[in-house]
Point group: C2
Chain length 545, copies 2
């Protein structure tokens, strides 16, 4: 039985439609500004409380579920999303203005991510199982039998992000990793794509039902302003929060969670300038190619990627002037682009304006107003690609130039020399990524810069571009504040599961009460640490009592 | 060259004595109330800033240090502590009132812990190295070479705890794990054992000098009130905080760190009631032995252990009455005990008084006022062991009975049946430990209780007692708030190192710029994840470009 594809505008609470509230929201097509049916009912306080209570019930009811059960649930969600077919693709396009190819690609990334986490749950070693067998004869005191592993933390609140309406939204990376860890999810739908959210929410609920999980394992609530989201974060039953979005919203959620009587962790991925540094020999050898790649990275998806490069540093001289001219030419070829919604376009315009009006900052290149882009009339959600230019000194003196401007823009900072570039790198705020272009001959010269960069970002890229985040075991998508509120965690890649678990230690347990991963038999054959050694072997004899 | 054992009362900032402040503190012998020379100079704002600046400098300067260098530093600290000899033992005894055997035992635990973390650093697999080799021919887009591992988070502020003046203080678990991760430490000395702190601080500084580390790798600052500690937490250069102590102080530190312009994680281990549950058959079969063990656990170290059992649940009936009588007899045998300082004794007295005056709460047993204990005159720091008794209903109706009373006391909660006991377990606040005594025949009956307990504690113990925390790989010493501010982390055992690290991802790096753990050769032979497989093998060929 597939999930229905008829939108109702209701919240989905433990598999049931609920539409108690009178506050309404609707999707808007950012291309033409038209409102899209139906209206969505903002969740009431009672509905939010109900969703969290059901999640708590589900957390207890799901205790007997095996790793294989959770893996199957994730795979079934992927299937149900695919079963939504073109209805989903069309609704995403209508609500976000994103082109069809991007939407289909993002759907593949989303289902691939769900299956990747299914694999992590099924393989099972992520739980970091550790066993120390008893030493009853140890002096001066015997050692008990001690076993520990990561266990699900409890109900998780997930906030859908506007810029990836599938991959970072209702069934995106936060939901996939929380479910893989064994946690129920209450999702706050992003108000810019409520129909997409309902469709995907129905797919998740259908999978929960098909796999026989407690219905409270997944709920989705709608809301436009801050109230619904902050109410959700305040619910005592919520144990952790996943968020991707703006610094303002992320910080409000972090502050709310930290201010609770019982604070809970917030994994917020927020603003990032993703600085790019050009070493002199690279600029000389590959300036034109770097300019082309950078222009593509800055304008990809209307600059609405978390890893969009907002700052470019180069060393003054004729090679950098040539690079600047190539970059300008590439940007000027581009027309204005439809952004996700009017609010994002307005924020882009305001942030860019503030930077552009700074003394010492000039406009290097501006895309055409209604040119070779998607060629539609301006609905108020258009953004013009832009490159500003300034000096290292002006950049250092104006902290607001260090802030993210979300959209297709970047600032070229021309430095006096590599030392100034390195010193500016060391002073940057936290960012998801940092990139260095360098020739093999200047590896030693670039070493101090690369070292500084490592301290302020989550991922350092050599001779590439920051957009395009591989979803894999080794990927890290995080970084020091303000790029995230939790620099020890990632929101992309399989380490993301660690956010939604906590160690629990079992001392002198009878085998029958232990979680499977800690039993002597090691039925999943996972990698464990036994008396300090990493191994997949089982423990043959009964542990000493 | 050994560290000097002459106390000066100065702060130690990057290896230099500094005594700029006029605010003074002194140790007090809790046994006789006498003030101990010398006076200690509370750190000024300038000194605190200087310590953190030097830590930041050290963080950069230490980048080239290998895992072996850090291991050697930790081992040298252990040696230097041993070299302090009886001067240290005597000072600890004078400042804390703890008996000699306990102090020598705790010193062994402290040096053992430093050597355990040296082993973790040397072995190296803790960094969770992950490698995905490039797939240049992958369609639709090539995969870059992606490598990631845990790297030190930066300068760490460590707060010494009063109840373990060695093992949870200047060179305790927080400092050992932070250094093992490669982080400099600025330690805030506990004002109740300033001389102990200076001695151990000198040992650490001597080891830093002997091993040629940057002197800013370790500093120690003194302070009595909240000001010095909170100023330290507010320093922008501090990247994480380790704390063991009261809920009030821990929450103030957490709130301060969360309120920074750039929030940082706080790993605070705070209050815990460590509930113990007695299943009926166990009470019947082993009531006298359990009573004896429990009386020992409640009064161990004057009840000043993080894991001291503050709540005991049993099911009403004649076996529980016998148990209560045995417990009362064991407690009444004990005399009053010297606590760590007057403030702790006053807090114990106030907390216990509040609980005892609750309607429905009676006093089951009270130790002798100046009886068979250490037999000294009351200096104002004495605590009388005490067991209160109440019903499950009264306990449920009085939330203040759920709060920790730090000292040698416990509340016996007599429940109507196992169901009431289970329901009370589910409603408890977070705790470091939970204990169940049960016979093999009642494993199935106890299963719901054990399941509930797992959700609210960090460690569940079957048929044992919570005091006595093994320092090992599998130990977990943490739990949901209020027992900690970060339930996904531990402050005891080798997982503690993970608190002071964050993943960094290296994309398309030249081999020469990679950290050793991520190079193809795998020089330490650590366990890594290569293309999804866990292995210790090296990568033989150069990765594809």
């Amino acid at each position: 039985m597939n999930a229905t594809t008829t939108l109702t505008g209701a919240n989905l609470i433990a598999g049931q439609e609920s539409a108690e509230g009178n506050a309404l929201n609707a999707g808007v097509n950012p291309v033409d500004g038209r409102i899209l049916a139906p209206f969505f009912h903002e969740a009431t306080a009672r509905e939010i409380g109900q969703a969290v209570r059901e999640a708590t019930n589900a957390f207890r009811a799901n205790k007997g579920r095996t790793a294989e059960d959770w893996a199957a649930l994730l795979e079934t969600i992927a299937e149900e999303i695919e079963n939504l077919g073109d209805v989903l693709v069309e609704r995403v396009m209508a609500e976000t203005g994103l082109p069809e190819g991007r939407v289909r690609g993002e759907r593949g990334r989303t289902t691939g991510q769900l299956r990747l986490f299914a694999g992590v749950a099924r393989e099972g070693s992520w739980v970091d199982a550790r066993i120390e067998t008893a030493l009853p004869d140890r002096a001066p005191i015997p050692r008990p039998d001690i076993r520990s592993m990561l266990r699900p933390i409890g109900p998780v609140a997930v906030f859908g992000a506007s810029n990836f309406p599938l991959a970072f939204s209702v069934a995106g990376g936060d939901t996939a990793s929380a479910l893989a860890a064994g946690c129920p999810v209450v999702c706050k739908a992003h108000p810019a794509h409520p129909g997409t959210s309902e469709l995907v929410g129905r797919a998740v609920s259908a999978a929960v039902a098909r796999r026989g999980f407690h219905p409270g394992t997944f709920s989705i609530v709608h809301g436009t302003g801050a109230a619904v989201g902050l109410k959700l974060v305040q619910e005592p039953g919520i144990e952790a929060v996943g968020f991707t979005g703006s610094l303002g919203a992320g910080r409000a959620i972090f502050d709310t969670a930290a201010g609770r009587a019982r604070p809970v962790p917030v994994y917020a991925e927020m603003g990032s300038t993703n600085p790019v540094f050009l070493m002199p020999a690279a600029t000389a050898a590959r300036g034109e190619a770097i300019a082309a790649g950078l222009a593509g990275s800055v304008t990809l998806g209307s600059g609405q990627f978390c890893t969009s490069p907002g700052l470019v540093f180069a060393v003054e001289g004729p090679d950098t002037e040539s690079f600047a001219a190539w970059l300008a030419a590439r940007i000027e070829e581009q027309g204005s682009q439809t952004m996700l919604h009017k609010g994002i376009a307005a924020g882009f315009s305001a942030g860019l304006g503030r930077a552009a009006q700074t003394a010492g900052v000039t406009t290097l290149a501006l895309g055409a107003e209604n040119g070779t882009g998607d060629g539609v009339a301006d609905s108020g959600a258009q953004g013009r690609p832009c490159i500003l230019r300034t000096s290292g000194r002006t950049f250092a003196a104006n902290p607001h130039l260090h802030e993210e401007v979300f959209g297709p823009a970047s600032i070229l900072v021309v430095c006096e020399d590599t030392d100034e570039m390195t010193s500016l790198a060391a002073g940057l705020e936290g960012s998801l990524t940092g990139t260095v272009h360098m020739e093999a001959t200047e590896t030693a010269d670039a070493s101090p810069l690369v070292g500084c960069l490592e301290d302020v970002v989550g991922r350092v890229i050599i001779n590439g571009f920051p957009t395009g985040v591989e979803v894999s075991h080794a990927m890290h998508h995080g970084g020091p504040y303000p790029s995230t509120t939790a620099p020890s965690t990632t929101s992309v890649g399989t380490r993301a599961i660690l956010r939604f678990a906590r160690p629990v230690c079992y001392q002198d347990y009878p085998e029958t009460l232990l979680p499977a991963a800690l039993t002597n038999g090691n039925p999943q054959g996972i990698m464990r640490m036994i008396n300090g050694e990493r191994t997949r072997v089982s423990i043959s004899s009964e542990p000493a009592a």
